[in-house]
Amino acid sequence: MNTVIFRTIAPIIVAIMLVFSVYVCLRGHNEPGGGFIGGLIAALAIVVLGISSSAAEARRALHFDPLSIAGAGVLLAGLSGLLSIFNGNPFMTSIWLYLNIGGSIVPFSTPMVFDIGVYFVVFGTIASITLALESENGEEL
């Protein structure tokens, strides 16, 4: 697995996978995709990075502890549900905003924020498990 070719190409694959994962996550509301599958793809990207270099390298690239990312995801998902309280609606009632950005209508919604939270949770959890399995014995987990 540590061939020169793989090590050279891996960052490019990882980058493409990450961008693709975001694309899949965001288009999920209307096309096949969503936060769950997007998070899985992103986690897979980190796995590839970990195999090509090392778990420690992947961790450094992530900057945040993957479990913290998962925690932030749960928080984000929960908070997105709380927003409806300001409208006087029950927990998790969706709110939609259509913003006109540069001539095109871009929809923003609390389900989208929620889905991004799901993305982070799936990504963070799977990444932390796989990185822990990939990491060297002496490393901090």
């Binding site: 540590n2 999920g28 479990l67 749960v74 549900g81 389900p111 932390s128």
Partner: protein, 853 residues
């Protein structure tokens, strides 16, 4: 008063908890006087409750309500009637004195602040209990008294006996708590009422109900555990491990009286049946005699009082069971009288213990000269316990004897039990008051001297209160006795207490008989004591030993169960899981006849229609062939790594099937999951040092294979059965119709996940994260195990671990990395590093780093 009474009643129950939270802080700033400061809280409550006497007399009842769970129609409601007012006044009044006494008694104790907080919370729980209107509120406060009394009894937690007493109290009273919860829910189920105040009016229907017996049993178990009725009485003497102020409070007027309160409260709608009367009279009578005799068996003053409390509780239960007007009047007067003298005597005993250093009755004597005020207080309380005229207790005794002259053997035997019990209790009272104070002075561990003001205030005030109540008999009868008895009987009654001793009435002769018997018992106390001791040793076991046996048995049973179920062998866990899955599939299919749907007997000729799905396109056949090939490869693979890869192939084929038959989202996810699971499984296999090959013996293989086949066939059959029925499409129709207009999304799967069922998803992602944390913990623990490995004798480790790195290194280099001089594949590296020698140094370095800052 007016409208703000409502809030204030709730405050009576809530204020002590607020005070409890502040007590430690308050204690720190007002140290020597903290008892007096904190006593202001119960004192204020007492004064407030006194101001309620008039409205209660006028209207019969005041209630207050705070919304609690409005969705279920539950209110945190309180009410004050004669009964709860009597209890609440006694609790807050005696509570005031207890706080003053506690700080004097425990002066200088390092955890006094904490103690005061516990005591305050306990008092709040107790006040809430007697004021609660909602039965669930009653239950909540009931359990709060159990928890806070646990903290109080186990306050001296460094001593084993204190911890044991606390745990025993908690266990026994919680059995009652559970019974109470069940009883409360049953009552609500049967009547639809939560409020105790409504039950008094509408509760009579309970008597005719078939479940009356069960309701009665629940309430009686609750009351008997709390009020220490035979045979559940044994926790009370052990609870004496608490500091004396706690005993004085818990065992005179609060904790143990909660059961009496419950019975009195339930009497209007649960009582007046043969079962109620018989059970209460029998158990009450036995408890009365047992406790009174047990009291004479003791030599420790505090234990004597504890046992006599059991007897008094039995007496109260018996009187409630009798249920006649005079018996109920006797209950109320006796409750008040007992609370006054028992709290006083406990405090006196505590003072003796505090100043003389012992409370063994055989080691004490002649203290009256050294502790004259204490002696005076003891005499006042003793007069009450003996039931002599200038105290209110005298009238309690008169009342209870009053109606028992009917020429029935039942009445006469109850009368005999009452006289014997009262006489024995009077003898105990005489012993406690006379023995330590009169007679030849003995040498005590400390040189005895008079207690401080804080120690003396309580017993003296209580002693005078008892006499004051008797002197203002008309007032007492009108404002305390009549409303309380009225609440228990649920019919208006008038007090007929008078200061007239009519020698023509037989009652006074019965009182005289009681006193004569008491004097006889007092004179022969030593003989009775030895006889009871002998009986004890002859018996060999007590309820206490039974409790211990039950508790240790439970712990052993729990340990055995854990070891049996949690054996730590993954293989067997998996077998269990799949066995249950197989059962869950097979039992409904074959046992309940669901499988019949697959072969309709009349339509056997129609098989071709059922096989229509076999007409697939060539590429679809190809995918199915791929899945089958993957399956075959899993089974036939020479080692586990190949199996894992083959599993990925098979899963990908399944994902393709999903894709072809219209579930792109599912297929999409399945692809990624397959890749991830292959990667993770391969990592787990190498990281956890699993054998590369499957070494299961044939029996295990046969067992696992059978299970796998049963599960697989079962799932297939189940799906086929499901498909024979018509699917209810209402839900999916709704989603299809509303997904775009109200949820603004075309992908229904995703819209369901993030919008329609968003709350479910929130739960799921939380679980996912929790699972991730759990896995991380397991992996970290494993790392620690590796760290610990060098300390295991090397002969044990080396032969096991060493061959592996060699083998894997060889295979890794042979298969993938021929050019590299050293095997550096992830697999090879991982396994090499797990050998202890290699792991120790790098693994330890970061640890040290962590420890440094």
């Amino acid at each position: 008063m007016g409208p703000n009474i409502d809030a204030s009643i709730a405050l009576v129950a809530v204020a002590p908890f607020i005070a409890a939270a502040l007590a430690p802080l308050l204690h720190r700033f007002t140290k020597p006087l903290s008892g007096w400061v904190l006593a202001l809280v119960p004192a204020a409550i007492f004064v407030f409750l006194v101001s309620l006497i008039k409205p209660v007399l006028a209207t019969g009842m005041i209630s207050a309500r705070i919304g609690w769970v409005p969705a279920y129609g539950l209110d945190l409601s309180f009410f004050v009637d004669g009964l709860s007012l009597t209890f609440a006044l006694t609790i807050s009044g005696i509570g005031t004195l207890i706080f003053i006494y506690s700080v004097a008694y425990l002066a200088g104790h390092p955890h006094l602040g904490r103690f005061l907080a516990f005591l305050m919370a306990f008092m709040g729980a107790m006040l809430g209990l007697v004021l609660a209107d909602n039965m669930l509120g009653l239950f909540m406060f009931w359990e709060l008294t159990a928890v806070t009394s646990f903290l109080l009894i186990g306050f001296d937690a460094v001593r084993v006996v204190a911890r044991r007493g606390a745990i025993q109290t908690l266990v026994i009273t919680n059995i009652g708590g559970m019974a109470l919860l069940m009883g409360v829910l049953l009552v609500h189920h049967l009547t639809g009422i939560w409020a105790l105040s409504d039950l008094g009016v509408h509760g009579h229907a309970l008597h005719e109900n078939g479940l009356y017996g069960l309701v009665l049993a629940c309430f009686i178990i609750a009351a008997f555990t709390k009020s220490a009725q035979f045979p559940l009485h044994f926790w009370l003497p052990n609870a004496m491990e608490a500091p004396t102020p706690v005993s004085a409070f818990l065992h005179s007027t609060t904790m143990v009286q909660a059961g009496v309160y419950l019975l009195a409260r339930a009497a209007p709608w649960l009582g007046h049946t043969a079962a109620w009367t018989t059970i209460l009279i029998c158990f009450g009578g036995v408890t009365l005699l047992w406790g009174a005799l047990g009291s004479l068996r003791q030599t420790d003053l505090k234990q004597m009082l504890a046992q006599s409390t059991i007897a008094s509780l039995g007496l109260l239960v018996l009187l409630i069971g009798l249920g006649t007007e005079t018996a109920i009047a006797g209950t109320v007067i006796y409750f008040v009288a007992h609370a006054l003298y028992k709290a006083g005597l406990f405090m006196v005993v505590g003072t003796i213990d505090h100043e003389a250093g012992t409370r063994d009755i055989t080691a004490l004597g002649g203290l009256s000269g050294k502790m004259p005020v204490t002696f005076a207080a003891a005499v006042l309380a003793g007069l009450s316990m003996f039931g002599l005229p200038p105290t209110i207790a005298f009238f309690a005794k008169e009342e209870m004897y009053l109606d028992l002259f009917a020429p029935h053997w039942q009445d006469l035997s109850v009368l005999a039990v009452l006289i014997a019990g009262n006489a024995l209790l009077a003898a105990v009272g005489a012993l406690v008051v006379i023995k330590p104070f009169i007679g030849a002075a003995t040498s005590t561990p400390k040189s005895a001297h008079e207690g401080s003001l804080g120690l003396l205030a309580g017993p003296v005030v209580l002693g005078f209160a008892s006499i004051a109540a008797a002197l203002s008999l008309g007032w007492f009868g009108h404002t305390v006795l009549a409303p309380a008895a009225n609440a228990i009987l649920n019919e208006p009654i008038e007090s007929h207490l008078r200061w007239a001793i009519d020698l023509g009435q037989p009652v006074i002769w019965l009182s005289l008989a009681t006193w004569v018997l008491a004097v006889l018992a007092y004179r022969n106390a030593a003989t009775i004591h030895t006889m009871l001791r002998r009986l004890d040793t002859a018996l060999g076991w007590t309820a206490d030993t039974v409790f211990d046996a039950a508790m240790f048995g439970l712990i052993r049973f729990a340990g055995d169960m854990t070891r049996a179920l949690h054996h730590g062998r993954l293989e067997l866990y998996l077998v269990t899981v799949f066995l249950m899955l197989a059962l869950a599939l097979v039992v409904p299919l074959f046992g309940l006849g669901a499988i019949d749907a697959l072969w309709p007997s009349e339509q056997l000729g129609d098989w071709s229609a059922k096989l229509a799905w076999l007409q697939l396109l060539p590429h679809e056949w190809g995918v199915i062939a791929l899945a089958l090939a993957g399956l075959g490869a899993i089974v036939a693979a020479p080692n586990r790594l190949y199996s894992i890869l083959a599993l990925g192939v098979q899963g990908t084929a399944v994902a393709l099937i999903f894709l072809m038959f219209g579930a792109p989202d599912l297929a999409f996810t399945q692809f990624i999951v397959e890749i991830l699971s292959v990667v993770i499984l391969a990592l787990v296999m190498t990281r956890l040092n699993l054998d590369k090959r499957d070494h299961r013996p044939f029996e295990d293989l046969a067992r696992d294979g059978t299970l796998a086949l049963v599960c697989g066939v079962g799932v297939s059959l189940l799906l086929m059965v499901v498909l024979t029925g018509t699917l209810d499409t209402r839900l999916s129709d709704f989603f299809i119709a509303t997904s775009v207009p109200i949820a603004h999304g075309h992908n229904i799967v995703n819209v369901i996940l993030v919008d329609y069922r968003g709350f479910d998803t929130l739960g799921e992602i939380s679980v996912l994260m929790a699972a991730g944390i759990a896995i991380m913990v397991l992996l970290r623990n494993r790392r620690k195990a590796i760290l610990a490995a060098p300390f295991v004798p090397p002969t044990l480790v080396v032969p096991k671990v060493k061959p592996k790195p060699d083998k894997s290194a060889k295979s890794a280099s042979a298969s993938k990395n021929k050019a590299a001089p050293k095997p550096k594949s992830a697999v090879g590296k991982a396994v090499v590093a797990t050998s202890p020698e290699a792991a120790v140094e790098p693994a330890r370095a970061p640890r040290r780093k962590r420890a440094a800052p």
